[in-house]
């Protein structure tokens, strides 16, 4: 009898242990572009696909969430076609291309203005002639989304052609920022450069600073306060020539910056947690995969732990900050407890992901 009671108690205890509360990532929504030609919509709470948005332009390669979070701007895998989808109705509201005849225009990046009236496109042309091809210069265009026409070609600052452009608008849409170690600032009436902000030399004695903007798929400012941008930086001190990593919180509106170094430099990708008080890092070297946690108030790395990652991967935080999502490449999202880095589960989609994925909270943080 006593043995039976013990067994009963043990089984109850085991059952309780097996049914430990499931850690939820929050109540946000995932949007993931993938193959073939669609965006998956997933409910973060249930971790189930709740719908899809079928795309008209092909396999999505870049996906940009509009400032008002009502639309996605998508560039297809050929980089020649753009598509605008309405999130609420899950439908395409516009498509456009600049390619005409034998002249291909590839759109390397697209940044819509906050009112969705126009977009800034970084393009490059390639023209196929009878016995040769000609590749044109990288060109920055203001494109009227309603009229489908190029409003203007924006001259390159100093006449220097750029191959990449991480662009963002000020919250009121009156300024356009070219993000880099030197941030170029344009007014958006005539797109003349009104200011520049060199971040590469912040302080005497600090050494050369280098900032990174955007990971796989480009910038994701979902967790940043409007007008702010939090990112990782590296410095190399001028005396010992040691490289260190740090965190910079950039106030674009006030042209102000807080920064601090936090540890030795490594190949760590940084993502901001929704509480803006923490950040997470993903280090990925050959067979050395680590999660890092940054306490941004205390300005220190609070923990680093190796985990069984993937040779190629990207990181997102859940909308409540309790889970870490590992994705890219392939069809799976691995979920980890952000507090313990413990692997929890894997969600498998019906096809490969081809864009970054957005974790959009139901309400703005």
């Amino acid at each position: 009898m006593r043995t039976l009671l013990c067994l009963l108690l043990a089984s109850v205890a085991l059952g309780a242990q097996q049914q430990a509360p499931r850690i939820s990532g929050g109540n946000g929504v995932f949007y993931i572009g993938g193959y073939p030609n669609l965006i998956w919509i997933m409910d973060e709470t249930t971790e189930k696909v709740t719908g899809t948005i079928q795309l008209k332009t092909g396999i999505p390669r870049r996906m940009q969430l509009s400032r008002d979070r009502t639309r996605f701007y998508i560039i297809d895998a050929t980089a020649e076609k753009a598509e605008v989808v309405d999130i609420a109705s899950k439908s395409t509201i516009d498509t456009f291309t600049l390619t005409e005849g034998n002249k291909r225009i590839r759109i390397n990046s697209l940044e819509p203005d906050p009112t969705n009236r126009y977009a800034i496109l970084l393009t490059r042309s390639g023209t196929k002639l009878r016995d040769r091809v000609e590749v044109g210069p990288a060109t920055l265009l203001q494109y009227d989304l309603k009229e489908h026409k190029v409003m203007r070609t924006i001259p390159w600052p100093d006449g220097e052609e750029r191959d990449n452009a991480n662009l963002t608008f000020s919250p009121d849409g009156k300024l356009l920022y070219f993000l880099g170690n030197e941030i170029l600032i344009f007014e958006t009436e005539n797109f003349t450069q009104v200011d520049r902000w060199d971040l590469s030399n912040l302080e005497e004695g600090l050494g050369q600073v280098s900032l990174s903007f955007g990971g796989f798929g480009g910038l994701d400012l979902t967790n940043d306060e409007p007008g702010f941008l939090t990112t990782a930086m590296t410095v190399e001190d001028p005396v010992q020539h040691r490289r260190m990593m740090g965190v910079a919180r950039i106030n674009l509106t006030k042209k102000d910056l807080e920064f601090y170094t936090i540890g030795p430099a490594g190949g760590v990708n940084f993502v901001l947690a929704p509480d803006r008080k923490h950040g997470y890092g993903l280090e990925s070297a050959v067979d050395r995969y680590q999660f890092w946690t940054f306490d941004l108030d205390q300005r220190r790395v609070t923990s680093r732990t190796e985990f069984a990652g993937r040779p190629r991967m990207s990181l997102k935080t859940s909308s409540n900050g309790r889970l870490l999502y590992i994705y890219n490449a392939g069809a799976t999202i691995d979920m980890y407890d952000a507090a313990t880095y413990k692997y929890l589960r894997t969600v498998t989609l019906d096809g490969d992901m081809t864009t970054q994925f957005y974790v959009v909270p139901r309400t703005r943080p």
Binding site: A79, R104, R106, R124, G126, K128, R130, D131, R132, V133, E134, V135, A138, W156, P157, D158, E160, E161, R162, D163, N164, A165, N166, L167, Y177, F178, L179, G180, N181, E182, I183, L184, R196, W197, D198, S200, Q208, S210, L211, F213, G214, V286, D287, A308, R310
Partner: protein, 587 residues
């Protein structure tokens, strides 16, 4: 080329063992004796080419067709161009017309022997670790995606090199970015030509050179590989159909199987310009297995032999032949190869046979000092029927004790090697013919080396064929200086090793050895099936890397002694999903 094969090049001549992968010779750097003439272009007079290409490539009043006249290339490179025209520009061209065009352009706009020799590894489909020494930046830029052999097997005007790079950027737009490195653009506010790289402005290499990487490569290629060269000027004037009909002695080497010897007859074909046919037979010296084979070939540009042993689609035994005809007309060297990835091959040397005796090699590669009665078979052609031991010369310290048997193509002898014979290579002479470095005299086996040092196999068997990899163990002596890995080390030839695989532990917990495939007792690695493996974490396929370990116990060793071991790296990778190989030039 990312993997390397330490090929045993050049027939069976066993000489000093190269302990690093042999580097093909570097191409001659461009010299532009007459810059004005260099860009004049080569008139295209062949009506077949004019007709096939003329709708896009317009000829001027001097017969110079756009693009085509401003370029020279090997047959394989011209074939790649035509394939590109078909696949990317949707050209419709009948196979027989394409072959005519390749032949014509290879003759009128080809490479001179001096220019083609350094690129032979490309046409011979050798997996070599080639580094182009002319310009590291150019090497790094091109080699990210394809062999440098493809690059150095053509010549262009400066404008044409620019056009080629534009073509890359047009069809492969990602090439401008990190994956290709054609441009070094900084992000956002950075970027831009002439900027400060340290400030993230993109261009600039820290050496004061503000050109983009593709612009630097373009300039280098135009300088190093211009359209016109003294070599081409000389060869294009002297070029003719080579006189090859007659008997030829075969000497070759197949990794894992050892030396081969035989003879073939070359005849001229009347049905094809510069066409030839062969009928021959060879024997594997180690096993005695004989192979009869016939082939047909075309000679391009007067010296580039391209053939195949069979031409039927249902013939799985097809072997291709790529060889270089020496200007003397007395020797042809190259590679015969087969397999889905051309991975199985024989390095072949053909020597013309007249009425005189020819010694082509021996079945054994090495002879031990202080030994007697060692049997050696000497291969050749027109070997004399009556031979006395004194007629056969193995050089200092090696004495022929007895003639065991004679035939016109094999002479079997027994030799004694003195205990004080100096170690090193020996020439073998008989009836006025000498085979240099035919055997090596050694006193002790100091180790074994597994070849290739970096092997590669490709998964297959489901959607794609398998690429196998053959390993062999070769014994070596440290040579007169007694030190390993020096220039005087002696290659003692292939030995029968015991084979095994070991985990290559550069990555934790990948357990590649469980998935990659099997290595048999002959050193032949057969990879596992292609495609995702549900039994592997992450549903990964069966790729991986492992050590291939050979163990060998020299004859006469203490039975309790540990075997001598050597190892090589084997990469087992995915199938080649896009096969752009050139196969038409030998048809």
């Amino acid at each position: 080329m990312r993997a390397r094969i330490a090929g045993i090049a050049g027939g069976i001549a066993i000489a000093v063992l190269p302990l690093v992968a042999a580097q093909p010779p570097q191409p001659p750097q461009g010299r532009r004796p007459n810059a004005a003439a260099a860009d004049e272009g080569i008139p295209i007079t062949d009506p077949d080419v004019r007709l096939a290409c003329g709708s896009c490539h317009v000829a001027d009043d001097k017969g110079r067709m756009t693009r085509i006249s401003y370029r020279r290339a090997t047959p394989e490179n011209w074939e790649l161009t035509i394939r590109r025209m078909i696949s990317l520009n949707h050209v419709t061209i009948a196979p027989e017309v394409a072959r005519k065009v390749i032949k014509s352009l290879s003759d009128s706009n080809g490479l001179a022997p001096e220019e083609a020799r350094p690129t032979m590894f490309e046409a011979e489909r050798r997996l070599v670790d080639y580094t182009y020494a002319g310009d590291k930046d150019t090497h790094d830029l091109c080699n990210k995606c394809h062999s440098m052999g493809r690059v150095i097997s053509e010549r262009r005007t400066k404008e044409e090199w620019a056009g080629l790079l534009s073509m890359h950027r047009y069809f492969y737009p990602g090439i401008d970015g990190a994956s290709g490195g054609f441009r070094r653009g900084g992000g956002g506010g950075g970027g831009g030509r002439g900027g400060n790289a340290a400030q993230g402005r993109g261009a600039g290499d820290g050496r004061g050179d503000n050109r983009q990487p593709y612009e630097r490569a373009q300039d280098h290629l135009a300088s190093a590989f211009p359209l016109m060269s003294p070599e081409w000027a000389s060869w294009s004037a002297a070029m003719r159909t080579p006189k090859l009909a007659g008997r030829w002695a075969i000497a070759g080497y197949q990794r894992g199987k050892g030396p081969i010897f035989g003879e073939l007859q070359i005849t001229e074909r009347s049905d094809t310009p510069d066409g030839f046919a062969t009928d021959g037979k060879f024997t594997y010296a180690r096993t005695g297995d004989s192979v009869s084979r016939k082939s047909r070939a075309i000679v391009y540009t007067g010296f580039q032999w391209r053939g195949r042993s069979a031409d039927g689609a249902d013939d799985p035994g097809t072997w291709r032949e790529v060889a270089f005809i020496e200007r003397s007309g007395q020797e042809i060297k190259g590679r015969w190869f087969t397999g889905p990835y051309d991975e199985t091959g024989i390095d072949v040397t053909l020597r013309r046979v007249s009425a005189d005796a020819v010694v082509t090699g021996t079945d054994v590669a090495s002879l031990k000092t202080a030994s007697s009665g060692q049997r050696v078979r000497i291969f050749g052609a027109n070997l004399p029927a009556r031979v006395a031991p004194a007629d056969v010369d193995f050089g200092q310290g090696v004495k022929v004790a007895r003639i065991a048997s004679t035939t016109p193509d094999v002479l079997t002898v027994e030799v004694d090697v003195a205990s004080d014979a100096r170690i090193g290579p020996r020439d073998v002479s008989l009836a006025g013919s000498t085979k240099s470095a035919a055997v090596v005299v050694y006193s002790k086996i100091d180790g074994i080396k597994v070849e290739p040092q970096a092997g590669m196999a490709r998964l297959g068997g489901a959607a794609f064929p398998k690429r196998v990899e053959q390993f062999e163990a070769r014994a070596f002596s440290n040579g007169p200086d007694g030190k390993p890995n020096t220039a005087d080390d002696l290659d003692l030839g292939i030995v029968n090793a015991f084979w095994s695989l070991e985990e290559y532990t550069a990555t934790f917990h990948d357990d590649d050895i469980r998935f990659v495939g099997q290595l048999n007792e002959a050193g032949l690695f057969t990879p596992n099936i292609d495609g995702p493996n549900p039994n592997r974490s992450g549903n990964r396929n069966n790729v991986g890397d492992v050590w291939v370990v050979g163990a060998y116990v020299p004859p006469g060793s203490d039975p309790s002694a540990k075997p001598i071991r050597g190892r090589a790296h084997l990469l087992v990778t995915v199938p080649l999903y896009m096969d752009w190989d050139y196969r038409e030039v030998g048809r």
